[in-house]
Symmetry: none
DNA sequence: AATGAATGAGCTTTCATTCAT
DNA sequence: GATGAATGAAAGCTCATTCAT
């Protein structure tokens, strides 16, 4: 009666989070899911397909989160929105990071999954695009400086969020809500103002836009 | 003659870069180093120790690279210096990324290396610190806005660089010099100016500094 | 409706012909027969029993074919008749050869089937006997040399036919009608005359009959 | 010190003879050879390569036997020589038959081995050719009827020998020396004389040579 | 009668590690 | 120091068989 297919996916996800790919054996998965080892191969062609399914599930959730970003346009302040959005990105990647790292460590698995990702058109761009669209909208509303390229800014912010998540994972830091929120807040505030030297006098700061 | 030890370390490094941890077998290492499989166990207690040695070597090199960053203070323009520094960070981590990913994929290996990294104070902070010191110096010279916290800015820039490197690795992009340089240039220019809405009139933009 | 039993037997036969015993899984059989895997175990005690059923069916058919061989006695020339008969033997065994090989590959299966074959008197003798009876009849009609032992000749001819079939299977040759027919024709003609040195003079060739 | 490579080959040969391919597991091979299972993969790339080696060894022996056939030309009587030769063929194939059958039962293994056999040019023709050459030589000496085609006769005799061996294997008959020798003797004597009807009177037997 | 999810033993293969030389 | 044959534990995967529905 219990949906063992989902059961196995969840068990695999849990094990990837806690023990990494190196210790992810079919035997362990079966034990964690409380099913027979052979059942895995009833539901999935091989271990790689199972792992893909886990990633796909995770990514789908994250993707949906990202696609909802533009809905917030114009509400609240720009930095409030941004911080919320980046926090979302952070959390999504805090979850997904161990799996991504694991896949990257196995050349063979990586190549195979890259193919699947390519054919299903599911790269990491989705997140950046979501941000990009949101920022462009805010720019049209005059809530974002006309001087910035939304695409470049989106990429910077996204990278900071995802790297924060990876760093916390790497350092073994718990994903403490207030600490993370403050970190993101600091980044946003700092970048918002820019770091070009503030003129002591009236003269305007001169910045050439890159081609 | 007996630089077979270094021989093995180099071979392992090469294999980690190209094939990842998953296919890193002692047999493969021995073949790559052109020595007998058993010799590995004369020079290293076990495979983990060998891998640690490889990582340690790499990280030490990268660390030294990072510590020399502040030497450029005051010369040329701020953004020229920053772009050069960030390019260094990018390249260093482009090299080290596959190894870092591999370590992260194996919980057991990761825990062991984390301890070593912690006790020898070899975390990623060193790089940020290098940047931090450099930025603070520039700030004292008045070439960097007083409004920013050097530490926060350093972290942001570092994260962007390292994440770019990882992304290129993940996407299978070659580390093309001009493309990378342009990417970093765009980021620096964008962040330098900030993205707070530009006042159409004279009034100053008001930004509260985070506590 | 419920000729699913025969359905499964036929599917198994087809798979044995094309893929051999090694890849003959119950899952494959079920797919080929378009029934559920479990249904096999409603109709047969186990896989061995199913295989036995397939072999039994095949062998019975072949046996019946062979028993009708002597019907041709006296009509047409001896060699014409023989060639026709041997062609029949060839075709029958071309079909049955893969299955026979498969059985022979599994000692356990072989022993079990040997017993059944023995008790039902279904060995390969029947075919030889059919030939034997036919040859004896021809001998009585004076169309076959008195010097030969029909049983020995029957065995020789039968062996040549069956071995030709096995060889064609082994070599991956299609059972091309004209090629096969010519091969058998050549054999018959050659053996018919014998290979004892032809006396240049009148004296008779002296051949001692074996005890 | 003991040559474990040959050890494993011999063990595999023994198991193929007694239990067939179906029960030929690496575990069993290791136990029979009294070595660890992993050692098999130190000496052979996979199980198929091991099996090929077994066959190759067997075939090499048989091949050498066959190539020595023509040395007997002219010595003793034709039928004595032939019987000896065919006995040799019989014994060689009595040994090799179980393995050949086993290979034939596994489509995948068969295809792979056929490729190897083809590229090394080691088909079963060698045996027929050996016989063919021998018979042609005897024909030139006038010890074999001019009326026969050596190639056809060679094939017939070879097929009878090999099929006798397979039949004895199939029937579970021990390879009893005197019984086998008598069987071959009977065949040779029978075929030597031919089975064309013997003329009661003086008239010559008329046999058309096949085109 | 019919299904197909579920089982678990056992298969081939990999690989870190040991050890006699 | 150096070799590579040998080990054995465990990996991914297959498959005949069972069983609730």
């Amino acid at each position: 009666m219990s949906d063992n297919r989902q059961n196995i996916i969840n068990a695999t996800d849990r094990l990837l989070q806690t023990h990494g790919l190196a210790r992810l054996t079919t035997r362990e998965i079966a034990r964690e899911a409380k099913v027979a080892e052979g059942l895995i191969y009833h539901h999935f062609k091989d271990k790689a397909e199972l792992i893909y399914e886990v990633v796909e599930t995770r990514v789908r959730e994250t993707k949906n989160q990202m696609l909802n970003l533009p809905l917030q346009v114009g509400k609240r302040s720009l930095s409030e929105n941004l911080e919320e959005v980046l926090l979302s990105v952070y959390h999504a990647h805090y979850e997904i990071t161990p799996i991504v790292n694991c896949i990257f460590a196995d050349q063979k698995l990586r190549v195979r999954l890259q193919e699947i990702v390519k054919e299903r058109n599911m790269g990491p761009q989705y997140a950046i695009e979501g941000l990009d669209v949101y920022l462009a909208a805010e720019q049209r509303l005059g809530r974002l400086s006309d001087a910035v390229e939304p695409a470049v800014l989106a990429k910077c912010l996204w990278m900071i969020s995802i790297q924060s998540a990876m760093l916390d994972r790497w350092m073994g830091n718990e994903s403490d809500e207030t600490r993370v929120r403050r970190g993101i807040h600091d980044c946003v505030q700092t970048l918002m103002t820019g770091f070009a030297p503030r003129p002591k006098t009236e003269e305007k700061t001169e910045v050439k836009k890159s081609k």
